[in-house]
Amino acid sequence: MTTVAVKPATMAQALTRAMRDAMAADPSVHVMGEDVGTLGGVFRVTDGLAEEFGEDRCTDTPLAEAGILGTAVGMAMYGLRPVVEMQFDAFAYPAFEQLVSHVAKTRNRTRGKMPLPLTIRVPYGGGIGGVEHHSDSSEAYYMATPGLHVVTPATVADAYGLLRAAIASDDPVVFLEPKRLYWSKDSWNPEEPTAVEPIGRAVVRRSGRSATLITYGPSLPVCMEAAEAARAEGWDLEVVDLRSLVPFDDETVCASVRRTGRAVVVHESGGFGGPGGEIAARVTERCFHHLEAPVLRVAGFDLPYPPPMLERHHLPGVDRILDAVGRLQWEAES
């Protein structure tokens, strides 16, 4: 994790590398979606794959998301491992029926006879000045759909490791890529790609004793920043990066909260009916007697994602996180 990078790569590049390595290792891996071939994707995440592996392995499809996912299901039924790109979060919605009624259910309804090893890459979230329908956080929909794995990297290394794991998984994985971290860099060394990360393990990104920030994907850097800022207030915050929303790593999360006694869940998805409710509820169920205060949530407001000029007011930022930490009842109240 802390290898010093020869030349630092972006998260987008790590994702490309993950697909490339997977395609080189396994001829059944096929990349498909809108503009993924010749153009290399609107975020250039599939850049070079069509050139290297041919158009049959990295395919520009017609513009129809249900068709993309539906045909990928058929390809998976025949033993391929399709990696589907949905161009933006909101443009995955046309494929919702295929996702819920087939992708999530086929293994179960065939009693294991017809697994669907499918990866569905969805760039998600805001913070990039995108116009409407380009900044949705749709993870709540996927979390509420049993049969899917839901994974989201927050670091460059995880982008590589988790995408390799997703592609290797024999189950469908919704792989949520935080758009605004595409250009982020960290210590990941493209010369020595990280090992495949197992899906389902959270990780403590920063140790602390005062309270736990539970977060994932695009909100991790914000939480890290908040944890730094919190030192000035005398709070030593622990930060847990979930990495996988399904399965959920109760063990790591609860161990942290039991240690700190306080927790705030941070995500930019809307609060009401969002992931934070589930997380707060399950942490409370499991750690009630260790809690000094209710698990709080810092989330996007409950509104359609706002226009670029207002998004900074919507997105959970450092101040809002610190405000929540401040409300964790540091002196006993009635």
Partner: protein
């Protein structure tokens, strides 16, 4: 330089890029549904095939009757009968080679059985058990699809994958007239044509989507006319003429196998029974219409042809009927046993490995079942 300045040189031309991508004419269906039985084409049909079709039609109808009877006895949760549509069901199954795949819609149990799936296993979903009693890979039959038209892109993807792998596989996907209105129908046909996937789409136009008649479903000259809009041939066939359906499908399968791409086949047929045993068809259609269609019965049509040409006699008819009765008796007997379901199986196949969350839930259910099993006094 404004355009004015270059005016002398400028010549209006037709749009440079445009040219018809394909000649539309051969993609359009004929004006009349193709027929074989009772026409001159019948003479060219393979007698063996016709007899085979006949046997299966008779068996199919008996199967429908038996399954409907089983709903009355509470042995099946629900059954959508395909009586009147047996020609499509049977031809779709028989036209495929062993390595080919069938993608049935929820009404297509007959096709599934005719393809070789165990008659009881084919009813697994409908009797209230886990969906696929049959292994889809064993007979290359996808699970019956309940969400309409969603199976069509699967067929395209599978056929495409097989072609990429260099395998000689054709997929045949079945859908109803109502299902053609769904977006998935459109997207599947478009992908198939763009990819030139070896797939055949069979629309059973049986006149109704539950209560909704075709006229409220489409204003197209025929459903087969949709094909040209994707750049594939559309074929119209008398769906009660088993020989014709088989021939048209066989042509399409051959074409697909040879790399010629997909075909859309519309078979004109009629759902003689109600939508399912739970439906009351008298609410939306009259007996007269049903009677007219009974005059165009697929079994009668074929029987008439076969007997008329001396390919079938009373004994042959009787044998077919006996075979069907034997099948029905066995079906009845086997369906009289309750399937054994283990509640703990709820958790087994959600994922390859149950999540920690599911493991917890499994333990909860295990404890509950244990408590239930305890002697009365010990319970709450």
């Amino acid at each position: 330089m404004t355009v004015m300045e270059q005016r002398g040189a400028y010549r209006p031309t037709p749009p440079p890029a445009w040219q018809p991508r394909t000649d539309p004419a051969p993609l359009l269906p004929d004006a009349e549904p193709y027929r074989v039985l009772g026409t001159e084409a019948a003479a060219k049909a393979d007698p063996e095939l016709l007899r085979r079709l006949y046997t299966e039609l008779v068996k199919g109808r008996r199967y429908n009757a038996q399954a409907t009877a089983l709903t009355k006895q509470g042995r099946l949760a629900v059954y959508p009968s395909s009586t009147g549509q047996e020609a499509c069901e049977v031809a779709a199954a028989l036209v495929l080679a062993e390595q080919d795949w069938l993608f049935p819609s929820y009404r297509d149990t007959l096709a599934v059985v005719a393809r070789g799936v165990d008659p009881v296993e084919a009813l697994t979903l409908l009797r209230g058990d886990w969906h696929t009693g049959y292994d889809p890979h064993e007979h290359r039959v996808a699970p019956l699809s309940t969400p309409l038209a969603t199976q069509l892109p699967h067929a395209v993807g599978l056929a495409h994958a097989a072609r990429l792998k260099g395998d000689d596989v054709v997929a045949l996907a079945m859908v109803g007239d109502g299902g053609t209105s769904e977006g998935d129908f459109h997207e599947a046909l478009n992908f198939a044509a763009v990819w030139q996937a070896p797939v055949v789409f069979l629309v059973q136009n049986n006149g109704f989507a539950i209560s909704v008649p075709l006229a409220k479903q489409t204003a197209a000259p025929s459903l087969a006319h949709k094909a040209v809009g994707y750049g594939m041939p559309g074929r119209l066939v008398d769906g009660n003429d088993a020989a014709a359906v088989h021939e048209v499908l066989a042509d399409a399968v051959r074409r697909a196998r040879a790399g010629g791409g997909p075909t859309l086949v519309e078979a004109i047929t009629y759902r003689v029974e109600a939508h399912t045993n739970a439906d009351d068809a008298t609410r939306y259609r009259g007996d007269a219409e049903v009677e007219t269609w009974k005059q165009h019965d697929p079994i009668a049509l074929l029987e008439h042809e076969l007997t008329g040409r001396g390919l079938l006699d009373e004994t042959g008819v009787e044998t077919a009927r006996q075979d069907a009765e034997t099948m029905a008796a066995s079906l009845r007997a086997r369906m009289n046993q309750d399937p054994a379901l283990d509640p703990m199986d709820l958790f087994t196949h959600v994922y390859a490995e149950p999540t920690p969350q599911l493991l917890e839930q499994r333990e909860q259910l295990r404890a509950e079942l244990a408590a239930e099993a305890e002697p009365e006094g010990a319970q709450r």
